[in-house]
Amino acid sequence: MPEIKATINGNVLMGSAGQTVLGLAQAHGIEIPNLCHDPRLRPAGACRLCLVEVAGQRGLVPACTFQVADGMVVQTETEEIRAIRKTVLELLFAEHRGICTTCDKNGDCRLQKYGYEYQIADTAFAAPEANGNGKNYTTGNEAIRYRPEKCIRCGRCIRICQEVQMDSALTFKDRAAWVEVSTAFEMPLNDSTCKLCGQCISTCPTGALYERAAGGKGQAKDLTRTRTTCIYCGVGCQIDLNVNGNNQIVRVTSPVGVVPNNGNLCVKGRFGMEFVQSDKRLTTPLIKRDGVFQEATWDEALAVIAARFNEIKSAYGADGIGGLSSAKCTNEENYIFQKFMRAAVGTNNVDHCARLCHASTVAGLAKAFGSGAMTNSIDEIKHAGCIFVIGSNTTEAHPVIGLAIKEAVVRNGAKLIVADPRGIDLVRFAAVHLAHQPGTDVALINAMMNVIVSEKLHNEPFIRERTEDFAALLEVVRDFTPEKAEAITTVPAEAIRQAARLYATAPSSSIIYSMGITQHTTGTDNVLALANLALLTGNVGKESAGVNPLRGQNNVQGACDMGALPNVYPGYQSVEDALLRVKFQQAWGVALPEQKGLTVVEMMHAVEHDEIKALYIMGENPALSDPNLNRTRKAIEKVDFMVVQDIFLTETAEYADVVLPSTCFAEKDGTFTNTERRVQRVRKAVVPPGEARHDWEILCDLAGRMGYPMAYGSAAQIMDEIAALTPIYGGISFDRLQTAGLQWPCPNRQHPGTKYLHTDRFTRGKGKFHAVAFQSPAETPGQEFPFVLSTGRQLYQFHTGTMTRKSRAIHQVSPTGYVEVHAEDAVRLGIADGQMVEVSTRRGRVTTPARVTTGIEKGWLFMPFHFCEGPANALTQDALDPVAKIPEYKVCAAQIRAVP
C-alpha cells in the first residue's frame, strides 16, 4: 500500500492509503474519543464522538470513517470540537439510566471514561434505574444479560453479530425513544440464530451487555486479568481470565488485535470456564481399597504406584506397562510424560488420543510432504481465492476459523466449496455444496483431479520442478470420470466439475479438513488424495493455500510434537533410528527401548491378551471417547493396575486403582501448540484446589521413587530442555513468547518462526504423489442395519463433556445428547422430534432423543459423542486404518427405532 504523510495535532505521521484518520491516530498513540468504533467492524460513523477538524473540509468530520490523504492536516482537540463532544455525551447521559456504583463494568466502560474526561455535570444524567426489570430478549438466558437502561444504541452488538459472527441474531426494534436491541420478534436468544459466541458482549462499550454469571462477582476495576490460551480446540484463542479477590474466574475477555482470534471467541471459551471452580474437582489422591475409593496422602499414593509398577516391570518387562498422555495437557507435561514412560519405565508404549483424530493426517502428510501439520496459517485463510472445506464442520468444531472462512467469502470474495454429507452451516456461504455419501471422499477427490487433468488446469511447471510420481497419479485418475464418481458419491457430475474448476483456477486455493477425512479406515488414503490435489495445482508452499488439517483438541499438535507417540521422540525423531536414540540416551542418561510401542487401540487389545498389565492415564477419558466402548471398558476393567491422573473423577477414573488430582490449565504455567503450529503461553491465573499438583511435578516425583530422578524448577526450564533436543522447537523459550506465540519450525533463537511450510522445497525434498484407489468403508448398510451412522462434535461441548457440561450457560442450550434423523425417515418410522429412540449397531445400543431435521441426507444418522448418558461410542467400531491405526468413527451401519 502506498505510504502517505499526514499531520495530526502538529505531528507529521506516516500512514497508508485507505487508513482512516482514527486508525492513523491510534497507530501513533493519539487518542480520539470514540464509542461506535471497533476495528473488527466496518466504520459506521453513528455516535459522532470522534469528530475532528480537517483543513479544507467544511464542518467537522468523523475520524472513524474519514480516510487520510497525503498532506492532510488534522486537529483533534480544538475548543469547538470539545464543546460538541461534550454535548454529544450530555445527550447520551440524558438517556442513560445506569449508575456506575452498582455496575459490573465500572472501570472498563468507555462512556464512564469520557464522562469523566469531559466532566459531564450530574444534572445531565437521567434518573437512574439500577435494575431495569422489564423483559427483553435475554430474560432467562444464562449466558448473556442485556440491560436497555445502560444501552447507548451504538449498534456495535448488532453489527458484530452480522459482520463478524455472521449469524445476524440481533436488530434494533421500534423507533425514537423506544429503540432497544432485540432478536427477531423478541424471541428468547437461544431460540434465535444466536450461537452464544458473546462477540456482542465483547464489543459493547458500556455495561449494557454482560455475562449473566459475572454479575455481582466484582467490578471490572477490581479484576485481575491474566492472558492465557483457551483449552477448547486447536485454534488456540488468546483469552484473559478476569479473576476477583476470592480466586474466582469471573469472566473471560479477549484482546482485540492479538493473533489468532482478534478478540473473537466461541461459546466454550467465553462461557465454559465454570468447571475450574467446580466442587467436583479432585482435591486429594484416592486409592481404591476393596472396591471403594479412599482419600490418601501423596506419599501413600505415589508409593503404591512406584511399588506396583516396579513389580510389574520385573515380572513382565517394561512393555507390560502402557501410558496415555493427553492432548489437553501442556507441551511441558507431554514431554515429561513421554520421558517418564521411556526413561523411567523403559517402554515406548505411549500414545494419546491424536490417534483417534489425526493419526492419518500425520501419516499421510508425512508421506506426501514430509511433515504432518497444517501447512499454512489461520490468518492466511482470509485472503485465499478458493477454500475447499471437506469433512470439517468448521463453524461448530473450530468456530474462530469458521469466522476466517466466512470473512474470506463475504468480505473478500473467496469462492467456497463445501464437501459434507450434512447441510452444515457453512453451506450458506458456499458456491458449491457436494453432499457426498460418507466414506466416498477418495472417489470425489479423484474425480476432481480427473477434471483438472482432462481440462488441462493442472500446474505443469510445479509438477515438473517440485514433485515426483506424477505418472502414478495419472494412472488412477485418468479413468475416474465425474460420472463414475457420481455413481459412488451421489454428487452430480456437473457439481464435481464446477468444484474442480473453482479449485484449480483460483489464484490460491486452501484445503481445510478435519475428522470427516481422517476418522475412516481409509483415513490415510483420504489425506493422500487431498495432498495430491494440492500438488497437482501447485497449491502448497505458498501463501493462503496449502493442506490444512484442523486439530481438534487444544494441544493435540503439541502432544504429537512432544513425542507422546509410540514411534517418535519429540520433534518426530524416530525411536528406531539408532543415531537419534543415542542422542536421547545421552541427554536422559539411561538406555532406551529400541522397538516402537503400541498405539491406543492396540494397547487396549494388548490388555485383552494379557500383554499389558498396567496403564497410566493422564487427562484422558477412553471410557467415553474410544470406539467400541464396551470393548474398551472391558479392557480397563480387566487391567491389573491402573492409575488415572485427572481434574475430575471421569468415567475412566472410576475404574482406576489410584487416582491423582492434577491442576487445570488456569492453575499452571506452560505452553500449548495450536493447529497452525503456534506455540503459545498458558499462564497461572488462580490457585489450585486442595492438594492438586501439576502433572509434571507428579510425574517427576514418581520417577524419582522408581529410581530415575527428574527435577525441574519450572515449566520454563522444561521448555529449555525440549528446545535443546527438538530441532523444530530449537528457538523456543518462554521469554520469547511474552506477547505472541511462535510458529514452528523455529530452529534457533533468532528465527521468527514459520508462517507456511514447504516454500522452496518440501520437508522430504520433493512432494510425492500417491496413487490412491477408492475403497468402500469397512461397514456398509444392509438389511439389519440399514442406516449410516456418523459421529462428531457439537459447537457447545468439548470432548467427553467433563468440562463444558459444568457451565450453566452451555447446559441451557445443550442439555443432552441426541441423534439427528432426516424428516422423511422419521415420518416413515413414526419418530417425532424430541421422542426417545433406540439406535443400535452390531456392537451396542443407546437410547437418546431424536432430532428431526432436513440438514442431513436420507438414510443417515448423526450423533455427537460428548454425552455419557447416551454414549455414541458404544455404537462405533474399532476397525482401523491399516497405516495410521485410526478407528472409523465416521461410518458404521446402524438401525433406529422409536421407543414406545
Binding site: 445476524s168 436488530t171 420478534f185 440464530t193 450458506r428
Partner: protein
C-alpha cells in the same frame, strides 16, 4: 399458516435482498392485512434475509403491524391538553362501545383501537381520530354515532 400470498409476492420478484424490505413488507401487509410473524420467518428462510433485519424494519415504520389490524383505526389522544379536557372519558367510551382494550382489534376485524401520545391538534382537545378523520371537542356521547359511520 397460509403461504400462498407470500409465494405469489416472492415469485413476482427475481431476487430479493435486504434493500427491498420496505416495499416487500408493504405487499405482504396488503396481502395478509398485517405482517404475520410466521410468514416473515418463512420469508427469511426463503430469501436468506435475516429474520432480525426483517423484524427491525417491521417495527421501525409505524405503518407496519405485526398483529392483525382492523379495517379502521380509532386513535384516542393521551396528551396533556386532551387529558385536561376529559380525554380519558373518550378512551373509556371507545373501549366500552367496541368491547376491547387499547391495542386490541375487534373480533369482526372492523376496528383496531390505539392511543397516541399527542395527535398534534391540541386546539381541538379532546380529540379522537378515525383513519384520517379528526373529531375535535369530543364528548363521550358522540362516540357511538361517529363509529357507526365506519363499516
Amino acid at each position: 399458516m397460509d403461504v400462498d400470498v407470500l409465494d405469489r409476492i416472492l415469485a413476482a420478484r427475481p431476487k430479493v435482498t435486504a434493500t427491498d424490505l420496505s416495499p416487500l413488507l408493504q405487499e405482504i401487509q396488503v396481502g395478509y392485512g398485517y405482517l404475520p410473524p410466521g410468514v416473515l420467518l418463512e420469508m427469511s428462510r426463503r430469501t436468506g434475509i435475516p429474520a432480525s433485519q426483517i423484524y427491525g424494519v417491521a417495527t421501525f415504520y409505524e405503518q407496519f403491524h405485526l398483529e392483525p389490524h382492523g379495517r379502521h383505526t380509532v386513535r384516542c389522544c393521551r396528551g396533556t391538553a386532551c387529558h385536561v379536557k376529559g380525554g380519558h372519558g373518550m378512551i373509556q367510551a371507545v373501549s366500552r362501545e367496541l368491547g376491547i382494550a387499547e391495542g386490541e382489534t375487534t373480533a369482526d376485524m372492523r376496528f383496531t383501537f390505539e392511543t397516541v401520545a399527542c395527535l398534534g391538534t391540541c386546539f381541538l382537545a379532546p380529540v379522537v381520530m378515525v383513519d384520517k378523520d379528526y373529531y375535535g371537542n369530543m364528548t363521550p356521547t358522540r362516540v357511538r354515532g361517529i363509529l357507526d359511520r365506519y363499516k
